[in-house]
């Protein structure tokens, strides 16, 4: 059990200030073929870690001096993928959950049984055959050939099994949500909800209510109780996209959730326990935002336990032919038409293009080319023109304002269940003006009322839905 293919024993570092415990665990592990290194304190463990390079760490939670939780953070600061198993005689559930979110492989209660310990060590080292057999290929829908993506996915797969908090950086259109979804789908939470929220697309008050929920009457227009996405994602994963745009006031509230695993809806005096894995993402330089005072440092460190970086398309050009082929194939299937292909010089041109809008831009270019060209071969002129025409994700101010306004109106109508007077009050407009705005955006308040043609959970897509839809469409990065 404790040896790998080259017959080198897997090394396990045991950290405990109780010598009887160290002797017991050592005997069990050695008896199963593992090599054992021991340390009687967190400080000694950190020294041993550098010298002996173990494959897994088994540590007590409560120790004199540095405790297990601090040791875990110190280990993961240099080696975020090191499996750490924590043992404790008296940890409560919040403590265990906190440790899970900080990335421990397992949390075991003392006295521990031999079989439990050995199976957890094997699992942490990914030696158990049952896990390997049950798991589908990680990120099955992700198209890549590049080493950059292979390395990223390998790292992401290792993180999937634990509840460790993951932070994904990368330019717009690189597929950060696709990666977050792949992690969710490879995790033990896969049968529970994956909910994505674009923090930058929703005004502060609405975002607070969307995330944390609200009680009936919590604010003007709150006609009904609203559960909130943190509770809706219970047992699953909450993906917070564009976390850098989250207002400071809400950052404090989110930090509390991540510390205590409890959420208090707006207007409620009661906290509700939630069990959610948070994956966050942004295209911004969050460390810079912290320096500027736009983002809380404590939240930054809480979210950024393991950073993953999505490479831009320009950094993974070798994936372009496979991506083009995939989109051409998908479009042909969708339209029930013959698959088109790019002329060699068009392909060469696309391979060298700058792609500021990344995979999303590439997808749109293929869509545009296949729509506008009637022949089977897409010529260079069409590829050039599509790439010029295709917006790279930066819209004119008017388009951006319109989109924001429409999403805002949808948000207030959802919260007020289509009650125009209340919605207008929240928006700070009189009813006549509000009706005008609704007409401009072709929205009908009745559609948001209970029994309307659209239910309150499913009116026109907001940016939250849009983010999810775009990720569904972009099932490949």
């Amino acid at each position: 059990m404790g040896t790998n293919d080259t017959s080198t024993p897997y090394r396990v570092l045991i950290v405990d200030d109780d010598s009887d415990m160290v002797a017991l665990l050592s005997t069990w592990l050695k008896g199963s073929g593992f090599s054992v290194i021991t340390a009687s304190s967190g400080d000694e463990a950190l020294t041993r870690l550098g010298m002996s390079r173990p494959h897994c760490v088994l540590t007590d939670l409560y120790m004199e001096g540095m405790d297990g939780m601090t040791l875990l953070s110190r280990i993961h600061a240099n080696n975020p993928l090191m499996p750490v198993i924590m043992l404790s005689g008296q940890a409560g559930i919040p403590e265990a959950m906190k440790a899970m979110h900080l990335g421990i492989a397992a949390f075991l209660t003392k006295p521990v049984e031999k079989e439990t310990l050995l199976s957890n060590v094997s699992r942490a080292l990914r030696l158990s055959s049952d896990i390997a057999e049950a798991r589908p290929k990680f990120g099955g829908g992700i198209i890549y050939r590049s080493t950059a993506m292979a390395e990223l996915l390998e790292k992401a797969e290792l993180l999937a099994d634990s509840d460790i908090t993951v932070f994904i950086s990368g330019q717009t259109g690189t597929g950060k949500e696709v990666l977050a979804k792949a992690i969710h789908e490879a995790s033990p939470r896969r049968d529970k909800p994956f909910i994505g929220v674009n923090c930058g697309a929703i005004p502060e008050q609405l975002l607070e209510s969307e995330l944390f929920g609200h009680e009936r009457g919590a604010f003007t227009g709150a006609m009904n109780r609203h559960e909130g996405l943190l509770q809706a994602a219970n047992g699953g994963t909450l993906f917070l996209d564009e976390i850098g745009d989250m207002p400071l006031g809400l950052q404090v509230k989110l930090l509390r959730v991540l510390q205590d695993f409890e959420v208090r809806p707006v207007g409620s005096t009661r906290s509700v326990p939630v069990n959610v894995r948070v994956i966050s993402a942004t295209h911004q330089d969050l460390a810079e935002a912290v320096k500027r005072g736009d983002f809380r440092e404590d939240l930054y460190y809480r979210l950024n336990v393991v950073p993953l970086h999505m490479p831009s398309l320009a950094e993974r050009r070798e994936d372009i032919p496979a991506l083009l082929d995939f989109f051409l194939d998908r479009i042909a299937q969708k339209r029930n038409a013959k698959k088109k292909r790019f002329a060699p010089d068009a392909l060469e041109y696309l391979l060298a293009a700058p792609w500021p809008g990344n995979v999303r831009q590439l997808m749109n270019v293929v869509e545009l080319c296949t729509t506008l060209i009637k022949t089977d071969i897409i010529p260079l002129s069409m590829a050039k023109s599509a790439l010029r025409e295709e917006p790279t994700g930066i819209h004119t101010l008017k388009v951006a304002k319109d989109a924001f306004e429409r999403n805002y109106l949808i948000g207030v109508l959802r919260i007020t269940n289509g009650h125009v007077a209340n919605a207008a009050r929240i928006a700070g407009r009189n009813r006549t003006e509000f009706y005008k705005l609704l007409a401009q955006h072709h929205l009908n308040a009745a559609d948001f009322r209970k029994g309307g043609t659209l239910d309150t959970d499913g009116p026109e897509p907001t940016d939250i839905d849009a983010a999810e839809n775009s990720a569904d469409e972009q099932r490949d990065v």
Partner: protein
């Protein structure tokens, strides 16, 4: 006589483990005389964590009792737990399998 069955793999370790519990009794008595309940809590916690793993569930229970009593600064309960442990260690017969 109390018979306890212990994993044969632990045969070399058990005498030392039992001897350490004898020492724990002396340590707790000394700590109690000084009123160091925190020190007693640490020893109780340790016994609770390791006893069951070695096959001595009773030691885990005594350890938990000591930890609770130390948290409550209850000297009588601590003395009573020590007395139970002393009696147990005197009577226990270990069978290795």
């Amino acid at each position: 006589m109390v018979q306890v069955t212990v994993d044969k793999d632990l045969e070399d370790l058990v005498p030392g483990f039992v001897a350490n519990r004898q020492r724990d009794i002396e340590k707790v008595e000394a700590l109690l005389a000084k009123g160091d309940f925190d020190g007693i809590r640490v020893i109780g916690h340790s016994m609770k964590g390791s006893g069951g793993g070695y096959g001595f569930q009773f030691i885990t229970e005594v350890g938990a009792g000591l930890e609770r009593a130390a948290n409550g600064r209850n000297a009588d309960l601590i003395r009573s737990a020590l007395s139970e442990l002393r009696e147990y260690l005197a009577q226990v017969e270990i069978v290795y399998r």
